[in-house]
Subunit: 107 residues, 2 copies
């Protein structure tokens, strides 16, 4: 059916999965890394940096934005993207917690 049955899972499980899903594409990983590498705000060098078409990048940026990971400030006719550090740290914590709680008791 291609539909995740989210109602079967806890809110926490759905949240981890939702974040992981966004990180689950190399273009989005690359976009986040590129944005964070820039000294100041960057605009649309992302398209040149990564070899994907502009609409494709725009779509990926939108996925990242929906998670609240990117703040975009208008600057003339371009938009300046940067990481929302607070949000990023919250997600970092979420994953740290998730990873930390998984242990093996056997084998």
């Amino acid at each position: 059916m291609g539909v995740s049955k989210t109602q079967l899972f806890t809110e926490a499980q759905n949240e981890v999965a939702a974040v992981a899903k966004v990180l689950g594409h190399p273009a989005r990983v690359a976009i986040l890394q590129y944005i964070s590498r820039q000294e100041g705000c960057i605009c649309n060098d992302i398209v040149d940096e990564i070899g994907l078409a502009q609409p494709t990048i725009s779509q990926h940026l939108n996925e990242i934005k929906k998670l609240g990971l990117i703040k975009g400030n208008f600057e003339g006719k371009t938009i300046c993207y940067c990481i929302d550090t607070e949000r990023w740290q919250r997600l970092q914590e979420l994953f740290k917690n998730f990873f930390g709680k998984i242990n093996s008791h056997c084998c």
Copy 2:
């Protein structure tokens, strides 16, 4: 096209994405958590625990296995699953690193 252009990205970026993709479904998050909660090896209570059909769980388990995160030992007619702790720790490190390197320099 529905195909990720993996050749555009670094191996590290593709690896982070591949792992995140597997964690990007709440059923797989729930399965990992459930397996890790068990004292010893568990078998197919997962199907009862989570409300998905047996073939669906089997598919999700397979995705997790492909990442090397689960070791399955035969035990009679059942299979005993458990987390591969070493592998898990490696991926934990990978994510810790990824999260840690993202910073904001602006806004």
